[in-house]
Point group: C2
Chain length 147, copies 2
DNA sequence: AAATAATACTTGCAAAATACAACTGTTTTA
DNA sequence: TAAAACAGTTGTATTTTGCAAGTATTATTT
């Protein structure tokens, strides 16, 4: 690789994140919940059932912050929270029916958004783009674990 | 493309952003400034001279928020701000010598970080990854402008 | 040329996000 | 059994943020 390649890579990723970030924001703002709540809903929905700890880890937030966010979701009847009978230190957080609805709405909207993105990439290039992202993710993992 | 491709794309990008986000945070936290200030420093440094408006647009923040961030940078002698003689509504924001130092530190650290990422990708795949990111960015732009 | 509108930025205010530290309750370990 | 470790909550303080209202400057309209 040449000397400037990493700068270009950085620039590309910067633009990518910025664009996605903006769109993610506007995309999410449809539902009544805040951005943080929506992220939580998606993670809970994906996991089906999850502890506070895990959730906080996934969203890279402090447990206290996470606790309050979940609290709000519970108050809005979007999630429910009960202590794990196996180990009563843990919570089992899951979505209510109402929460599932919101989750599905977000999912649909996000998936159709990414469907659009994919559609805007020439068909013959799509596998390459997928593979490249995999390579990038693998590269990040490699760096992360080895320092 | 198959039905599930967009979900996979979404997942990949999600992981990518999460990883980069976390690393970006920890990477930036080295300098005395906050994350928001660091972003601002990078943008001002890249532009050389920039108005508040443009800066807010770049960072996707409200002008008021941006104004305060710049204010802090000025107070810390990292940036200076004077009104544009051509049109006195605009500001000309630029880095001080001290700010340039911080900017260079961040740049070096970020570039070496991305150099590492690039290095963790098989050499023969690197051009493909670059092209794929370009394609993604282009796809995002295409979607954005046409809705 | 004067009044109006538009623009760039700042500031007052309030709300939301966030983390740290101290706490409770539960389980594991010594 | 006592101490340590862990999951989660709550008090508190800080930070981030944006909206709305303000000032100052420039462009537009009449």
């Amino acid at each position: 690789m040449t000397l400037k390649d990493e700068k270009y890579l950085r620039q590309l990723i910067k633009i990518l994140i910025r664009n996605l970030g903006i769109l993610e924001k506007s995309e999410f703002s449809c539902c009544g919940a805040t951005l943080g709540q929506c992220h939580a809903i998606v993670e809970i929905g994906t996991a089906g059932e999850i502890s506070l700890n895990q959730l906080a880890e996934l969203l890279n937030l402090d447990n206290s912050t996470m606790s309050r966010t979940v609290n709000n979701l519970v108050n809005q009847r979007l999630a429910e929270r009960k202590s794990d009978p196996e180990d009563r230190r843990y919570l089992k957080i899951r979505l209510t029916e109402e929460g599932e609805k919101v989750y599905k709405t977000i999912e649909e909207s996000m998936n159709s958004y990414f469907y659009e993105i994919l559609g805007a990439i020439p068909q013959e290039k799509q596998p390459q783009v997928m593979e490249s992202l995999e390579l990038l993710v693998a590269a990040l993992k490699k760096i992360k674990c080895c320092n």
